[in-house]
């Protein structure tokens, strides 16, 4: 079975990774338990479901939202999400007046603790350049139309801070509890390339 689930031989990259893993283990540079732990961390513990819980709590609790926007690192740590690449977090709020969107023009900086590893398109050169120079064009390609009178604000996370967008709470969600709200929140909405769609 190949690494992408399709029957057949492993891809060249998968074979290379296996060869490197064997060498690192044989030379005693890495323990296999460390590799298992890393995979479990990124498959099961660090991912956008963490960020979604932060967003849902902020939508449900005005005091928490105020804390989150003032001290993203502290408020996110309060939810237990304080892993690597989430040491200094800034959360920016989308509204009818301002639409925020995050990019790392220099590489692929991304808030792992709340959103996991970045999607491939986030790391691609076309996204990285056009998100800065033509954000409305990129947003339109994601199906996100921003009114001409609203402000589009791009955050280039090229340095040490990591950014996450607090999307707007969609209509038709009155009375939903944080658990139900979290299910509506997508990774892309926390990067700011989409909005959160109403339920249904």
């Amino acid at each position: 079975m190949s690494s992408n689930g399709i029957p057949g031989p492993d891809s060249e990259v998968a074979l290379r990774v296996k060869a490197m893993e064997s060498l690192l283990l044989e030379k005693g540079l890495v323990e296999s338990s460390a590799i298992d732990e890393l995979i479990d961390m990124f498959e099961n513990r660090l991912g956008p479901w963490n960020g979604a819980q932060v967003v849902a709590r902020a939508w449900s609790d005005p005091e928490y939202k105020a804390w989150l926007l003032k001290d993203g690192t502290g408020a996110i740590a309060d939810m237990g999400f304080a892993a690597v690449q989430g040491e200094d977090m800034v959360v920016v709020e989308n509204s009818a007046e301002v639409h925020n969107m995050v990019v790392c023009t220099l590489c692929s900086c991304f808030p792992w603790a709340t959103l996991g590893l970045p999607p491939v398109w986030y790391k691609s050169a076309p996204f990285r350049s056009r998100a800065a120079s033509d954000p409305r064009g990129v947003l339109a390609e994601f199906g996100t139309e921003i009114g001409a009178d609203a402000e589009v604000r791009v955050w280039d996370s090229n340095a040490e801070l990591r950014y996450m967008v607090l999307p707007e709470r969609p209509a038709g969600t009155d009375g939903m509890d944080p658990e139900a709200l979290a299910k509506l929140v997508t990774r892309d909405s926390m990067i700011g390339v989409t909005n959160v769609a109403p339920p249904g």
């Binding site: 890495v30 732990e37 961390m41 040491e87 120079s133 609203a150 791009v154 040490e160």
Partner: protein, 117 residues
């Protein structure tokens, strides 16, 4: 020889990995509201100052605190800790009059990248 990557090393990644921000007493050269211009420098080595902001004028929006200066670290010139600021640039300043007047871009810039405008 660097340390073997074992379970403990990896597990630490999942705990609070220690803030990157430095607790030091260094006077900031800029404050929120200051108009600044990104230096037009073209270093041969690593920099976090992208070309699209070089020579452009913006406004300091927030003092992010003190961080090691990556340009110096990569070059082997020590840590050179200094303030880093979120600087806001109008989209038209960066991309010309064709960009929407409503839009802007914030980017985190180290003090050594900035002059008073």
């Amino acid at each position: 020889m660097s340390r073997k990557v074992d379970l403990e090393v990896v597990s630490r990644l999942y705990q609070k990995a220690g803030a990157v921000r430095l607790k030091m007493d260094i006077e900031p050269r800029f404050k929120p509201g200051d108009r600044v211009r990104a230096r037009n420098i073209n270093p041969a080595g690593h920099t976090r100052l992208p070309r699209y902001v070089r020579g452009k004028e913006g406004v300091v929006e927030r003092d992010n605190g003190i961080f090691h200066f990556p340009d110096a670290r990569v070059a082997g010139d020590g840590d050179q800790p200094q303030h880093n600021y979120s600087v806001r640039f109008d989209a038209q300043e960066l991309w010309g009059p064709g960009a929407p007047a409503t839009d802007c871009l914030n980017i985190d810039l180290w003090e050594d990248y900035l002059d008073n405008a």
